[in-house]
Amino acid sequence: MIGRLIQRPFRAMGTSCAVAVTARSASDPGAERALAAARDEVEACEQALSRFRPDSDLSRLNEAAGDWVRVDSRLVDALAAALRAREDTDGRFDPTILPALVAAGYDRTFDELDERPPRPIDGFRAGAFVELDGSYARVESGAAVDLGGIGKGFSASRALFAMHWAWGGLPGALVDLGGDVALAGETPDGGPWRVAIADPRDPESALATLALDAGGVATSGRDRRRFGPGRSLHHLIDPATGEPAVAGPLTVTVVAPDPADAEAHATALAVSPLHEVDTHLGRFPHLGALYVPEDGEPVALGELPLLAGAAR
């Protein structure tokens, strides 16, 4: 037994968040420094990456599409991770789907969405150019970037590092940004971190529990964040069509060493049928996934660390 878990809930990025550290006592000053550093880093990431803040670095970049813009290093790093993920997923994850997302109706924060019908989008083309050079970035003229499918995982990872920098003796920590989780180090009881996977068909219960020493977990799906007439639309755009995806599961959970990777791959697999998910995980053996179809039993694929002793 190392100590206790000190948790701090807060709201950021349009969702419910929490940070937690393993500490020897509730009054450990290092723990408070680490928790404060994590929240500051999440706020800094939101200011750099949010498309809903008119003065964010991402909004400035989109506004000046076609021109080089000096931006925060967090945005450069997040764009680099997003471009890598686009390549790794053969374009199933694409940070340049923002025009299609706006046309579908997701044009403001989720709390402010109305029930307007989707607008037709002419000439949408995925895979727009995004260039990076030091602390400068440029988006292809006419294109726009949304980091909704990777930003929380990226920020959770950054917050985890910020906690370590703030408290050199940090035993272990966890960052949860609306269900996108980054974790590392020791738990209060000395065992692995346990992350429950919520059942999208019954959110009060869990489908399974994962046991992890470090890394990231993310879930993407069409069970929540619905909008439009009769809440018939969802926010998962298929880059191939520019419209809300038809194929894909109710939810998919991905486990990866890098939390940003976990979220980006979850976004990609959330618009993919099961056989494509299976093929994808064959190419990336360090990933694990739990695919929950609209109908039928959930399918565990790849290196999914289900809690030891739970399976029988």
Binding site: P9, R224, R225, A300
Partner: protein, 71 residues
């Protein structure tokens, strides 16, 4: 009389500190427990098997599609 009032105020101050500590350390949200669930586990050789999973161990966090914040 002044001593009695000082004691009362002292007790109230102590209760306020205890309440503040309890509030700041309250659990984030009720975490769901894994109830026995059937998963299809697909192995590397493509072979599938049905596995019942479930754990009584409480989770440290829950992954899910991002919910909107509570009002």
């Amino acid at each position: 009389m002044r001593r009695v009032w000082a004691t009362v105020v002292g007790v109230w101050a102590l209760l306020a500190v205890v309440a503040a500590i309890a509030w700041s350390n309250r659990p984030v949200s009720p975490l769901p427990r894994a109830t026995p669930t059937v998963l299809v586990v697909k192995g590397k050789n493509g072979k599938q098997q049905l596995v019942v999973v479930g754990s009584q161990a409480p989770a440290h966090a829950t992954t899910q599609t991002s919910p909107a914040p509570p009002a």
